[in-house]
């Protein structure tokens, strides 16, 4: 116990010397207690959802228990087969891969031009981008939908891929990153006769590994989670993504346990992604400073 309080703490509100007081020790324990309660509240609903998938329908609907009676993974496998989840996983996977390409190349090129080429009038574009961050984009979903229908791209993955290339938040992340690359490197490449395209792909791109990782992870997560646009474009086309399928349960005959297992299928990929790349995700979150 005393070892806990003999630690040095030279940042934040509480300091090493504060811990001499008993009231501060109590406060510190209280902080930990609140911390653990918060962790419980954050994590428990997720764990409960996954555990509930092990219940059978009667158990889930009738018995007020948190833990299932038995743990049989076959229940998950049956639901997977019954709801044909392989197909929806594949569709989501296709959406994710295409989105990554456009998110990295599309937003990267724009960020590069804004940071390193700065052609006449670039500020206008930059301000328009900043504005886009503030203006709610869901409010213009109707005309966007109409744009897509006019081009005959309804029922196709292409609009979803392309939309990843129009992310103002990513462009600004890229621009900030490229600002930290010395202009002299770019000038040197220009003197060597490189065109801007080849400078971007051969010089800047290889240096952009850290930011590309962040953007890729964010894109995977948002493309996997995206629901409204995929629903409007892909509903009843056989190309439904996992999220679209999940929404269809609202009006389907699937049982509660099947739905809750489907929820588990839909949250496992993002959780795995987070488990492997949590540092990048949290870093990107703080660096951007804006809700995704």
């Amino acid at each position: 116990m005393n070892r806990l309080f003999s630690l040095k703490k030279d940042y934040g509100l509480l300091r090493t010397y504060d811990f001499r007081r008993n009231s501060v020790k109590f406060l510190y324990l209280l902080i930990y207690l609140v911390g653990f309660i918060v962790v419980f509240v954050a994590v428990f609903p997720i764990i409960w959802t996954i555990l509930s998938g092990f219940k059978d329908l009667r158990e889930f609907v009738n018995e007020p228990r948190i833990l299932p009676k038995s743990y049989d993974i076959n229940k998950f496998i049956e639901t997977w087969k019954l709801l044909n989840f392989s197909k929806f996983y594949l569709n989501s996977f296709i959406v994710v891969i295409g989105s990554i390409v456009f998110a990295v190349v599309g937003n990267g090129l724009l960020g590069y031009a804004l940071s390193k080429i700065k052609p006449k009038g670039y500020k206008l574009i930059y301000y328009l981008l900043l504005w886009s961050l503030m203006i709610p984009t869901t409010t213009s979903i109707v005309p966007l939908f109409i744009n897509i229908v006019r081009l005959g791209l309804q029922g196709s993955f292409i609009p979803l891929w392309l939309s990843a290339g129009a992310n103002a938040f990513f462009v600004i992340l890229y621009k900030n990153f490229f600002d930290s690359i010395p202009q002299s490197i770019i000038e040197a490449a220009r003197i060597d006769g490189g065109g801007e395209w080849s400078i971007f792909f051969k010089v800047v791109f290889p240096l952009s590994y850290p930011i590309n990782t962040v953007i890729t992870i964010f894109t995977i997560n948002s493309a996997w989670s995206d629901f409204l646009l995929p629903y409007l474009l892909l509903n009843n086309t056989g190309k439904e993504t996992v999220m679209v399928r999940l929404f269809q349960f609202r009006t389907s005959v699937a049982t509660d346990v099947d739905i809750i297992r489907a929820v588990t299928f839909s949250i496992i990929p993002p959780i795995l992604l987070f488990a492997f790349f949590q540092r990048y995700m949290m870093e990107g979150m703080t660096r951007g400073g804006i809700k995704g």
């Binding site: 954050a42 724009l110 109707v142 129009a166 999220m243 999940l246 739905i259 929820v263 979150m285």
Partner: protein, 290 residues
């Protein structure tokens, strides 16, 4: 001179593909939304200019009043329930010496779960009868099961509660980064001057995050004002329109009634309200600072 010109052209050529995407996905739809709201239409084809007709009809519809007040109620509750939570969490996690990473990761975890999956999860948490998670937990404390989402006065706070559950972690990280950037010497100096813990919190910590909190407040309002699929999935706007929102009206006009101009006119109303709120808020803050 010629070289400068060449560079401009090269720059715009490189920007062109992305700009086209932005025009297609964001900027043109925004303008089209405004234009469309003044027209009548058959499906996606505009027919004739009708002035404010769409706006008048939309506003006079009884659903609008409910959605309008509800949207403000959502915003109100999200400020009551949601705004302070990340600030408190960040201060707490910043003070913790051991397992700091563990707390950070756990708090952020709900943010990586897709919004729709979260909505369905909470549908089961709020489920009526004794097997909803909330009722199971309350049952263990001896409370009878409730049909949570059918209570019209509770439904909005309940929805805001799970929105907070889902998004507080990300905001917490932003505050945490700011807190870690505070110069330790400020605290050191204050302590030497005899400032206690609460004084340090009041005169150093809070002022240092004030500007950030202001920005995040506006972003939160914009975010909550667009609330759509939480009520769509949980209650479909019910019971009796008690949880319907302006965005949900947009969705219903557009994709259930296929009345695109009316949907567009509500979109424009939402955008205008947000613009107004942001401007007023910025003014107020500026006056306070002077």
């Amino acid at each position: 001179m010629f070289k400068r010109h060449k560079k401009d052209i090269a720059g715009w050529i490189i920007m062109a593909p992305s700009i086209i995407l932005f025009v297609f996905f964001l900027w043109e739809p925004l303008l089209a939304s405004v234009v469309m709201s003044f027209y009548s239409a058959k499906g996606i084809r505009l027919e004739r200019f009708v002035g404010f007709q769409n706006y008048i009809e939309v506003v006079q519809h009884p659903d609008f009043k409910a959605a309008f007040f509800n949207t403000f109620l959502y915003t109100f509750w999200s400020l009551v329930i949601g705004f302070l939570v990340p600030i408190i969490l960040a201060i707490i996690i910043n003070e913790i010496i051991h397992f700091k990473g563990f707390f950070r990761v756990s708090v952020y975890l709900p943010n990586v779960i897709p919004g729709l999956a979260v909505a369905i999860m909470w549908l089961y948490i709020y489920r009526a009868g004794k097997t909803g998670l909330l009722n199971i937990l309350l049952g263990k404390l001896g409370f009878p099961p409730q049909a949570w989402l059918t209570k019209s006065h509770l439904v909005i706070p309940l929805i805001v509660l799970f929105m907070t559950w889902r998004s507080a972690g990300a905001t917490t990280l932003i505050y945490l980064a700011r807190l870690q950037g505070i110069d330790p010497e400020l605290y050191e100096a204050a302590t030497i001057d005899g400032a206690g813990i609460w004084a340090r919190l009041k005169y150093i910590t809070l002022p240092q995050i004030y500007n950030l909190a202001r920005t995040l407040l506006i972003l939160q309002i914009i975010f909550v004002f667009q609330v759509l699929y939480e009520p769509l999935v949980l209650t479909n706007g019910g019971p009796n329109n008690a949880s319907t929102t302006l965005m949900l009206l947009v969705y219903k006009y557009a994709f259930e009634k296929f009345d695109y101009p009316k949907a567009a006119s509500i979109s424009v109303i939402i955008a205008l309200i947000l613009l107004l709120l942001t401007t007023v808020y910025n003014r107020l803050v500026k006056v306070n600072e002077e």
